[in-house]
Structures are given as structure tokens and as C-alpha cells.
């Protein structure tokens, strides 16, 4: 069981790191949702890891708040910003993607 658990957590950890890198490195005009989703995924994996680490309370919280509510908040806001962007956008679309100008 231990080996199973260890193996599983190893996979989880790698997946988390991968998702995290995806979240910060993904590029492109419409990459923000992907980024948010990836971050949510990290949280979700983390909550599984918490379960393995014998922390059910934390796991529940992380799942509900970390991956659930936070992701929703992000999307909620993204939608608002897009809504605003279409009407008050002064920066012809590029404003939304304010990254990597250097």
C-alpha cells in the first residue's frame, strides 16, 4: 500500500509541477483561462495529496475553496474584464494580455 501511495503521490507531485509550469508559462492571447484552469488543477491535485497525507479536513477545504471558489472567482472576474474590455478597451485588445512585453 505504501508503495502504491508513494507512487501515486509522486505522480501527483509531477502533475502538480507540470500544471503549475503550464499556469505561468502558457502564452498566447487567450491563455489566461488556461492558466487559471491549470492553477485550479494544481489545487485539485493538492487536495488529493492532502488526503494521502491524512489530512481530510484540509483536503476538503482545498477542494472547496482552493480549487473551487478561487477558480470561480477568477473566471467571474475574467468575464467582467472581458465585458469591460469590449466597451472601454483603449488598447485594441492587447490590453488583456499584459504579459511578456520584454
Amino acid at each position: 500500500m505504501n508503495i502504491l501511495m508513494t507512487g501515486m503521490s509522486a505522480v501527483l507531485c509531477i502533475a502538480m509541477l507540470g500544471a503549475a509550469l503550464l499556469a505561468i508559462r502558457v502564452k498566447g492571447d487567450d491563455s489566461l483561462p488556461l492558466s487559471i484552469l491549470a492553477a485550479g488543477l494544481v489545487s485539485l491535485f493538492a487536495s488529493v495529496l492532502f488526503l494521502i497525507l491524512a489530512a481530510p479536513d484540509v483536503a476538503m477545504t482545498e477542494a472547496a475553496i482552493g480549487s473551487g471558489l478561487t477558480t470561480f472567482l477568477f473566471f467571474f472576474l475574467l468575464a467582467r474584464i472581458r465585458g469591460t474590455a469590449q466597451t472601454v478597451d483603449k488598447n485594441d485588445g492587447s490590453a488583456l494580455d499584459g504579459r511578456d512585453y520584454d
Partner: protein, 118 residues
């Protein structure tokens, strides 16, 4: 396993910091910080974990008298709970700020918000 989890946690923190330093988009910076927060949570929980013990909940299997030898440290878990909620509060706040900033200037680029300097 503890080490692995902890290393993952630390790496997540570093990835988060790296993301926050290299992405100029406000929302992406916030995303990066949630990653870092998750990493912190993993580290904390990993520290409380003890090999071969169970969650700190008393039930038929883990009686009150045997608890000391059977359960893992409950304190880090309690701390993480608090930390998660606080993290959410801060994230929500940052999001609201980001939105308002965007509304004011029409950009999410942090390098555009340098009216205050020197």
C-alpha cells in the same frame, strides 16, 4: 513521501514566485501567487505528516486513549485551514483591485501602474 511532498511544495512556491516576477499581467501574477500559496499549504501539511499514522479524528478505530500513538500532528492541519481561508480572502481582494485598476486604465500590465515612484 514527506520529502517529496515538501520538495513539491517548495518548488511550487518558487514557480509561483517566478511567475509573479516574470508575468506582467496582473491576473497572471495573482494566479502565480495562488500557486505559491498552494505550495505553502503542501509544505505545512507535509510537516505534520507522520509515517503510518491516521488523520486526527477519533472514532472507533482510534480511541481517545490510543490517540497519542495513532494520529498525526493535528496542529499543522489547523493552521493550513486558516491559511487557505486567508489566502482566499487576499486573492479575492487582489482580484477586485485588479478589476478596478483595469477599469481605470484599461490595462492589466503592472508596468503601467507606476504613477507613484521615487
Amino acid at each position: 513521501m514527506i520529502y517529496m511532498a515538501m520538495a513539491t511544495g517548495f518548488l511550487l512556491i518558487l514557480i509561483g514566485f517566478y511567475g509573479a516576477l516574470t508575468n506582467r499581467n496582473l491576473l497572471r501574477m495573482i494566479v502565480a501567487f495562488t500557486l505559491a500559496n498552494t505550495g505553502v499549504n503542501i509544505v505545512i501539511v507535509a510537516i505534520g505528516y507522520m509515517h503510518g499514522r491516521t488523520a486526527p479524528i477519533l472514532d472507533a478505530a482510534v480511541t481517545a486513549s490510543a490517540a497519542a500513538a495513532r494520529i498525526i500532528d493535528p496542529v499543522p492541519q489547523a493552521l493550513v485551514l486558516t491559511a487557505i481561508v486567508i489566502g482566499l480572502g487576499v486573492t479575492a481582494l487582489m482580484l477586485a483591485y485588479a478589476y478596478k485598476l483595469y477599469e481605470r486604465k484599461g490595462t492589466l500590465d503592472i508596468a503601467q501602474y507606476t504613477d507613484l515612484k521615487w
